[in-house]
């Protein structure tokens, strides 16, 4: 049985289907990347899968049980969610932000272990040197890495509850420099190798092709293509989904699709 | 507390001079302007150890005695700190919790009924007189007040055409707050043989401009509040008032608030003053209408 499944899940707002009858199954250890143009419904699909918004029709199940039947604290031990850029209302320190990540589920963890867990997450997201800083004073990229540390801590804290976990990342590298983009995606891939299913929304198709086991391509609320990057990422898809005429090269000995902006062709008038 | 002050020889001398008559009687806190006024009129002021903030007359009352605050917002500990034996208070005094605590401390609380009539004034004088142990002085004062009231009645019966008086308590942003039926202002106006122009209004209420014109007052009556009072220009420059007969004759009468509305021992004099202002000597013989 899959870890997470969507059965014809739709999200309708104001008479418009933001997500239309999405069917999806996620297995442990998979790194799935959702791509698509702006307004394709990527974030809405993520919200359905995380349980943040109940489906208007169809259903989302975790372990075969409808997500609405899961209490928040049990879901929290099972999956962590890193949303897009986050503002804090109050000047929490970096340590406190990460600690908040485990507070909801980490009641069983004693303070000593909790501190060790926070320290490991800070190091893994490369923000340990910011530990005593006020979150509000950090740069956008630094804040994003702190949030990444927070979801890592949450997964680690929830690990004793249940083996197979899911990590949702909504544009996790949007504000990051090249080095940290790789660092975050490497960590995500590492988690996937350890058995955690990772579902990420990315805009960079090259990054998506590099890390994804499976691509989910959305347009207009509909999943239009699904499969390994090498199999589905071609010129026809780019043109139909992104309205861009660009040639797809092959890197890494022909196994990895690679898109170079220089190879864009002028749109026919 | 008193002992500490007596240690200083000068203070000792001063305290003896000031305090010696007080040894004769109880320590009293007066709550309400009319109560204080009666106590002074009876010559029992040496018994006062505190007055409330509405005790404006005589002026020395608030100057010489500690102020225990607004009549409706007394402080239990504040009053108790004056170590009174008795509180003589108007009906409105409060809050009830503070009064209950004061009573619990063994202080007698005497409430003086509030009746806006000549009989009410006489009853107040008699009551306060017996409470401060000055029944004879109270009788003399009451007789004097009764004579004044008789004088008012005699003069009132000679009035042929009552003038219409509108009592204006305040003007805020050009909105007039007037005295309707059931108010002390209404009672005083009627005692002075005039007619309250604020008909159909109960209590002190803001009134619309049109209602002022419809009331057609011959005289505007108002009160002085300390240094600042309504001047005729303030009132008659307002459109609503400018259309009244009072504006045509520029008749605005301003009197001290406690004097006019307090219903204390000065009531007859206040009413006579008001009559003087409302019916100048010439107006008595002159036929109006």
């Amino acid at each position: 049985m899959s870890l997470l499944q969507a059965h014809k899940a739709s999200l309708v707002r104001g008479g418009r289907a933001l997500v239309a009858e999405a069917d999806l199954a996620i297995a442990p250890g998979e790194l799935v990347v959702i791509v698509g143009p702006n307004g394709a419904g990527k974030t809405s699909l993520l919200k359905l899968l995380t349980g943040e918004i109940p489906a208007s029709s169809g259903r989302v199940t975790h372990d075969g049980i409808d997500i609405r039947g899961w209490p928040a604290w049990r879901l929290a031990a099972r999956r962590a969610v890193m949303a897009q850029a986050q503002e804090l209302a109050f000047p929490f320190s970096v340590i406190d932000v990460v600690r908040i990540g485990i507070d909801g589920i980490g009641r069983a963890i004693d303070p000593e272990n909790a501190n060790a867990l926070i320290a490991r997450s800070l190091s893994r997201a490369d923000v340990m040197h910011l530990a005593d800083r006020d979150y509000q004073t950090l740069s956008g990229g630094e804040q994003q890495r702190v949030q990444f540390a927070r979801v890592l801590a949450q997964l680690a804290a929830g690990a004793h509850e249940r083996r197979a976990q899911i990590l949702f990342l909504d544009e996790p590298v949007a504000s990051l420099d090249l080095c940290h983009q790789f660092a975050v995606m490497d960590t995500a891939a590492e988690l996937a190798r350890e058995g955690t299913a990772v579902i990420a929304i990315l805009h960079d198709l090259n990054l998506a092709a590099t890390y994804a086991d499976r691509l989910i391509v959305m347009r207009g609320g509909v999943i239009v293509a699904e499969g390994p990057p090498a199999a589905i990422l071609d010129e026809a898809l780019l043109e139909t989904v992104f309205d861009v005429r660009i040639s797809v090269e092959k890197a890494n000995g022909g196994s990895l699709p690679c898109i170079l902006p220089q190879k864009r062709r002028r749109q026919p008038a | 507390m008193k002992l500490a002050k007596l240690i200083h020889p000068l203070a000792l001398a001063a305290a003896l001079v000031a305090a010696s008559p007080a040894l004769a009687g109880e320590r009293i806190v007066a709550v309400g302007g009319a109560v204080t006024e009666i106590i002074y009129a009876l010559g029992a002021q040496e018994r006062l150890v505190g007055v409330d903030s509405t005790s404006h007359h005589p002026p020395e009352a608030l100057a010489r005695h500690p102020d225990v605050g607004y009549v409706r917002a007394l402080s239990a500990e504040g009053v108790l700190s004056l170590a009174p034996d008795r509180i003589i208070a108007v009906e409105a005094a409060g809050p009830p919790d503070a009064l209950a605590l004061i009573a619990q401390a063994g202080v007698a609380i005497e409430t003086i009924p509030e009746e806006l009539s000549p009989e009410g004034v006489l009853a107040r004088i008699a009551r306060v007189g017996s409470l401060v142990d000055r029944p004879d002085a109270a009788r003399i004062l009451a007789d004097e007040v009764r004579r004044g009231i008789d004088g008012i009645e005699a003069r009132r019966s000679a009035i042929e055409t009552p003038v219409r008086v509108l009592f204006v308590l305040s003007l805020q942003n050009g909105r007039a707050m007037v005295g309707g039926s059931g108010t002390s202002a209404d009672a005083v106006i009627r005692l002075a043989g005039a007619e309250n122009a604020a008909k159909g209004i109960e209590g002190f209420k803001p009134i619309t401009d049109e209602a002022i014109i419809a009331a057609a007052p011959d005289v505007i009556l108002t009160i002085n509040r300390g240094s600042h009072a309504l001047a005729p220009d303030d009132v008659f420059s307002l459109p609503a008032f400018s259309a009244t007969p009072a504006a045509a004759a520029r008749r605005l009468v301003a009197m001290d608030g406690l004097y006019l509305l307090g219903f204390g021992p000065r009531m007859p004099q206040a009413v006579l003053d008001l009559m003087d202002a409302l019916y100048p000597a010439s107006a008595f013989s002159e036929a109006r209408g």
Binding site: P71, A72, L75, F90, F92, G104, Q136 | A4, A76, G78
Partner: protein, 359 residues
């Protein structure tokens, strides 16, 4: 490796510094509250020596009469009421600010003050005519009950308006709160219009707040409402911390957000309603105290909420000392004292904030 060592040093130091700051702030505040409590029993219009105050508190048989009454039935209930009401207002303020994710949210935002104010106006203005004949007593006795019920009713109405399909929109609540506040204000104005001079003065005094009406009886009514709330609130600290990240994030972190919101709103309505009922409207405590503490010890609600209770109580009890001694034997409404101290202090804080002391 040395970089890693340096980094872990920062981590350990940050943890130690935070712990040291918490211990220091807690100790300081407890000492400060104790000092104010002692001063509060000693200070007042009636001069009583410290020795006698102690003897009276210890229940010495020799100490009876006026001084004993003043200490035991005037100052002590007043002190306790001040501590309770101050704590309730400050903790409610902190919870509202957490819920609305806005440091300027006032406990009054849930409509408690507006509703309580309206109910108080009804009691004061119409009480003598309609209530006294029924209960045969002064409407003043019903004022606390009326204010409490009025505050609670407004909050529930607001909550009902803002809740759709089991989800409460905090933004809707804020907007509806402004509308309901204006409506309650209009009715209060209407009643003020219909009131006489004396009732108007009563309304004014009530709306400025006072601990002057403190009695053991009132304390016995209010303490069972406020104390359990103060004891329960630290349990909401984790949820409030998570809420700082946003409602969706709090849900992802395992917080039952809807239940948390409902709980906070009801607790605040009850605590503030009870406070307003016995002490009138007292401003600024709910904003200044949490703000000051956030500057001193950070925004972590696990420490913030209990310290808010201590500082709020101490501050109000302290303000009350001023309120009843400055113009003794009369007294000032405490709302004037808290605003007169709170407003300039708040401005000072804002100026320093702009100079970069805080973010």
């Amino acid at each position: 490796m040395s970089v890693a060592l340096e980094n872990s040093r920062i981590f350990v130091e940050a943890l130690t510094a935070k712990r040291r700051r918490s211990v220091f702030a807690t100790t300081l505040l407890v000492l400060c509250a104790a000092a104010i409590a002692i001063l509060s029993l000693k200070a007042g219009a009636v001069e009583i020596s410290a020795g006698r105050v102690v003897a009276i508190l210890l229940g010495s048989q020799a100490e009876t009469g006026r001084d004993a009454l003043v200490v035991l039935n005037v100052r002590l209930p007043r002190l306790l009421l001040g501590l309770l009401v101050g704590a309730a207002l400050a903790v409610s303020g902190a919870m509202m600010q957490g819920l609305f994710r806005n440091p300027l949210a006032d406990p009054g935002i849930v409509g408690v003050s507006a509703g309580a104010g309206l109910a108080a106006a009804v009691t004061i203005v119409l009480g003598e005519r309609f209530i006294t004949p029924v209960i045969g007593a002064s409407p003043f006795l019903l004022l606390p009950v009326g204010a409490f019920l009025g505050g609670l009713a407004t909050t529930l109405a607001l909550y009902g308006i803002a809740t759709r399909e089991g989800r409460t929109s905090v933004a809707t609540m804020l907007l509806a709160g402004i509308a309901l506040g204006a409506l309650a204000g209009a009715f209060t104005g209407l009643l003020a219009y219909a009131s006489d001079d004396r009732q108007l003065r009563d309304l004014t005094f009530w709306s400025l707040g006072s601990l002057g009406g403190a009695t053991w009886a009132k304390l016995a009514v209010v303490a069972p409402i406020i104390l359990p709330i103060l004891i329960a609130t630290p349990m909401l600290a984790r949820g409030l911390n998570a809420l700082v990240l946003g409602e969706a994030e709090a849900y992802h972190l395992g917080i039952g957000v809807q239940r948390l919101k409902t709980t906070i709103i009801l607790l605040v309505a009850a605590a503030v309603g009870a406070s307003v009922a016995v002490a009138g409207v007292i401003g600024f405590v709910g904003i200044v105290v949490p703000h000051l503490l956030r500057l001193a010890i950070g925004p972590d609600h696990r420490l913030l909420l209990p310290l808010c209770a201590i500082l709020g109580g101490a501050l109000l009890a302290g303000a009350d000392i001023l309120a009843r001694t400055i113009v003794a034997p009369a007294e000032l409404p405490i709302g004037i004292v808290t605003a007169a101290i709170g407003a300039p202090f708040f401005l000072w804080l804002l100026l320093h904030r702009n100079r970069g002391i805080v973010s």
